[in-house]
Amino acid sequence: MISTHRNISVSPSQSPRSPSAEPFLSVSVTDPVKLGTGVQAYISYRVITKTNMPEYQGQEKIVIRRYTDFVWLRDKLAEKFKGIFIPPLPEKSAVEKFRFSAEFIEMRRQALDVFINRVTSHPQLKQSEDLRIFLQEDEEAMERARSHETGIFKKKPSEFMQIIKDVQSKVSDVVLGKEKPVEESIPEYEKLKHYIFELEDHLAEAQRQAFRLVKRHRELGQSLSDFGKAIKLLGACEGESLGKAFSELGSKSEMMSIKLQKEAHNLLMNFEEPLKDYVRAVQSIKVTMMDRANAFKHHYELSETIRLKEINLDKLTLMRSDKAGEAEIEYRELKAESDEATKRYETIVKLMNEELVRFQENKTSELGLAFHEFAKGQANLSHEVADAWRSLLPKLGVSSA
């Protein structure tokens, strides 16, 4: 399977050289294995890390992780790196039935591999201590880290789904300023907000059609197979040259069916999934926007409070009140907090601007690759189909004596 993302790094096999070689960090997610039984069953993955970075123990480390571990990592990153567009994770499976289908498992594995590689290639995220824990700690330590979480991240996956949904709707309200009339009034940012929301709609539509296209390939494949069988039976009734012609037609038809099923899978993994991934990425941006809105609100409210406190303090000072001292201390504390909030807000703004540039660039190349795979797959399919049908013609020409 073609993984759409590989780490842009040097080959890991040049470690014997001096340790001052370029720092690299290469991760892959492989070998899904079903563990546990019944309702408790889940899939575990091997996460292989190859690195020469000093913070990491040794050159290669293999750990076993499951989906909820990835969720833990994502949540920690979201907590600590506000302003950064956190790479999106594949969704929890909505339908129980497909949780263990080969296709779903492969799609998820690919998406997790993409996720972890995006994290390790992000200039800030790759320095995360939580990332190191995720990549290096043994399974028990990971388990402990996961279950010792406080706050909203200690929820079960199903609850988390609900939280995500709530967040999404809250994000819309907050970001679009529906909640309270406390919002930044930066025109470019307003424009960006609407861009992001509309973009999500357009992308979702494209992804829907892509998914339908996968289905159409499957359906066409099935009908070619059925048609081939029926034609072969018909050929058995007719004799001699016609019977043979029908038989050839039927066989080719069945062969075509197999090619179509293959292409359906290729389309799913290398075209539809990247589009879905794009949608998720946009949703991640919306979360960052919510963080920014909250940060702004916090900063704004504190600034307002500070202003009033300042006026009050001046008044008290002027009146030589004995409350002035207290007020002064209060004021200083609040000022520190306010400065903190402002700094946080400004960091987010700065990070977002950088992230946006990266985002657009990455998306162009990732989408471009998806388009390339799509076109290549379709071209190959059509070539093979043309070849197969064409090879029949001399046989038909000969037999039509």
């Binding site: 759409t4 590989r6 424009k191 861009y195 509309e198 973009l199 357009h202 494209a206 829907r208 059609q209 339908r212 296209l213 289905k215 159409r216 390939h217 359906e219 066409l220 099935q222 009908s223 070619l224 059925d226 048609f227 029926a230 034609i231 039976l233 018909l234 009734c237 007719e238 016609l242 012609a245 029908f246 037609l249 946006l356 657009q360 660039e361 998306k363 162009t364 989408l367 471009g368 690759l369 388009f371 390339h372 795979e373 799509f374 076109a375 290549k376 379709q378 071209a379 190959n380 059509s382 070539h383 189909v385 043309a386 070849d387 049908w389 064409r390 013609l393 038909l396 020409g397 039509s400």
Partner: protein, 530 residues
């Protein structure tokens, strides 16, 4: 002519709609560009710098062989109308059905719209020329009811033949009947039907068809031969004559040839009953019959035909499913293209970064290709429908074959009935003879009775020889028709397969060209990630 652009991936920009439609078509399905008749050379226009990714040597390109404007279905190659076969000498060069008109006839009815019907103009060109030496053309007005009559008359006159089935009656209210779509469907179906009749080697020359196509004014043929009313008295008397009961020699005797027609219609109930009894006896093998369907060759053939019918049913069904799947593919591909066009437009309006602008170009490329591909699928499908329609057609013909088989078994039953009657007559005759001989001088009544029996027997013997001739005739019709059917079916199916495969090949090549181009233009994204 397609000129290959110097695009490293072979196919130049796929032809636009206008270019495609101006490509020359040769007429007639057999005259079409048949790549097998042309040497496979590599300098055929679109095959030289072909396929980028596969390494096959210059194949002949069927891409040009399959161009057809999609919208005009009546232009279709192959057409639904039966084509002239080698050795066919139909008198009718062409038949067209057109100009549906609403007409009315006097009727007593409270139902609104009753008494109105649609008539069609039927124009026929014949190969026979009139006195001035120019080919004749006939124009008549007919309504659907006339077609039903024609079909019924043909069924009566051409027993044993595989007669093309007529269009369905479909029970409709007078109001619905005037709806444009329905009328158009019916018009087209009538045209196909008449053309098929004309193409049949025997029926094409029939009087019934001639009268239908050429007699001006109202269609003159009555609904049935109305044998029943002619023979009404005879029909009632028939059992009396055959069983010899009561007054004999009472004037009217059924003409033998009328006896020989299968008993159908409500008036001939008595005979129907007798023949039914006979056919049941046949089935149960109870009666001793001197004539049994012992033509093993025929029975084997019949079995094969029924087997064929079953396979045709399935194949016909799967062909429909295939067509639907291709249709869906076309639609979804088109919608995908549309979604990308919208994305491209959106990003163009909102572009802030250069990377976005680059992306816009990609969107447009993929969108254009998808829309083109959608059109390719749709056009290919239109042709596929026409090709695979042969399956539906021959499946429909199976009904006519069954009818031909029925004609045969009916004729056999008629013959067997007569034989049974004959033997019972003989038996009775003997009994009377035996009784008379015991009385000296004979009994006047008994002698008269004997004479009546002898007379009846003579008539029945005549009927028998006619029935035998009829049965043999129908048997021969069956045989020659099945031969003809086999031959035509073989030809048609081979041509269908060829056409289908050429079509699929050509369109697959076009699709490959469309997508190869996009793959080429986007290949820079792939090389980054090696």
């Amino acid at each position: 002519m397609m000129v290959p652009a110097d695009d490293r991936f072979g196919f130049g920009p796929p032809p636009l709609g206008e270019e495609m439609e101006s490509l020359p078509l040769t007429d007639g399905p057999l005259g079409r560009f048949d790549p097998l008749l042309h040497p496979l050379h590599s300098d055929s226009p679109s095959s030289s710098p072909s396929s980028p990714t596969s390494s096959f040597p210059d194949p002949p390109s069927y891409a040009e062989a399959v161009f057809l404007p999609a919208e005009d279905s009546s232009n279709g190659v192959p057409s639904a109308s039966p084509r002239r076969r080698s050795g066919g000498d139909s008198d009718y060069l062409n038949i067209t059905v057109s100009d549906p008109q609403k007409e009315s006839e006097p009727t007593v009815s409270l139902v609104p719209g009753a008494g109105t019907f649609i008539s069609y103009l039927i124009t026929t060109n014949t190969s026979a020329s009139d006195l001035s030496g120019s080919p004749q053309e006939f124009s008549v007005r007919r309504r659907f009811r006339d077609v039903v009559v024609l079909a019924d008359r043909l069924a009566e006159s051409y027993r044993g033949f595989v007669i093309p089935p007529r269009p369905d009656k479909s029970v409709v209210e007078s109001q619905v009947m005037h709806k444009h779509e329905f009328v158009e469907q019916r018009r087209s179906a009538l045209e196909n039907y008449l053309l098929k009749l004309a193409a049949h080697p025997v029926i094409g020359k029939s009087d019934e068809l001639k009268i239908f196509l050429q007699a001006s004014g109202k269609f003159p043929l009555p609904a049935t031969t109305d044998m029943a009313s002619r023979v009404l008295d005879g029909a009632v008397r028939l059992p009396k004559q055959l069983f010899g009961a009561g007054e004999a020699g009472s004037g009217y005797v059924a003409a033998p040839q009328d006896v020989v027609q299968p008993a159908k219609g409500g008036r001939d109930l008595l005979r129907m009953f007798k023949e039914l009894k006979q056919s049941m006896a046949n089935d149960w093998g109870g009666a001793k019959l001197s004539l049994v369907e012992e033509d093993k060759a025929f029975l084997t053939r019949k079995e094969r035909v029924l087997e064929l019918e079953q396979q045709l049913a399935t194949a016909s069904q799967q062909a429909e499913a295939l067509v639907k799947a291709q249709q869906d593919m076309s639609e979804t591909t088109g919608e995908l293209g549309l979604a990308f066009f919208k994305l491209g437009k959106f990003e163009t309006e909102e572009a802030v970064y250069d990377s976005q602008r680059m992306r816009v170009a990609d969107f447009k490329q993929v969108a254009t290709a998808a829309v083109k591909a959608s059109r390719m699928y749709r056009e290919s499908n239109t042709l596929t429908v026409k090709h695979l329609d042969k399956l539906h057609e021959y499946y429909g013909l199976m009904l006519a074959v069954r009818q031909a088989f029925s004609d045969r078994s009916n004729a056999l039953v008629t013959l067997q009935t007569i034989l049974a009657d004959l033997s019972s007559l003989h038996a009775r005759e003997e009994k009377v003879e035996a009784a008379s001989s015991k009385i000296f001088g004979g009994d006047k009544t008994r002698i008269r009775k004997l004479e009546e029996y002898k007379e009846t027997i003579r008539i029945t013997e005549d009927a028998k020889s006619i029935a035998v001739k009829e049965y043999e005739r129908i048997k021969e019709n069956n045989r020659s028709e099945l031969d003809r059917l086999d031959k035509e079916r073989h030809e048609d199916f081979l041509s269908m397969i060829k056409g289908f495969v050429i079509n699929q090949t050509g369109y697959a090549e076009k699709l490959a060209g469309i997508w190869s181009q996009v793959a080429g233009e986007t290949s820079r994204y792939a090389s980054r990630r090696k």
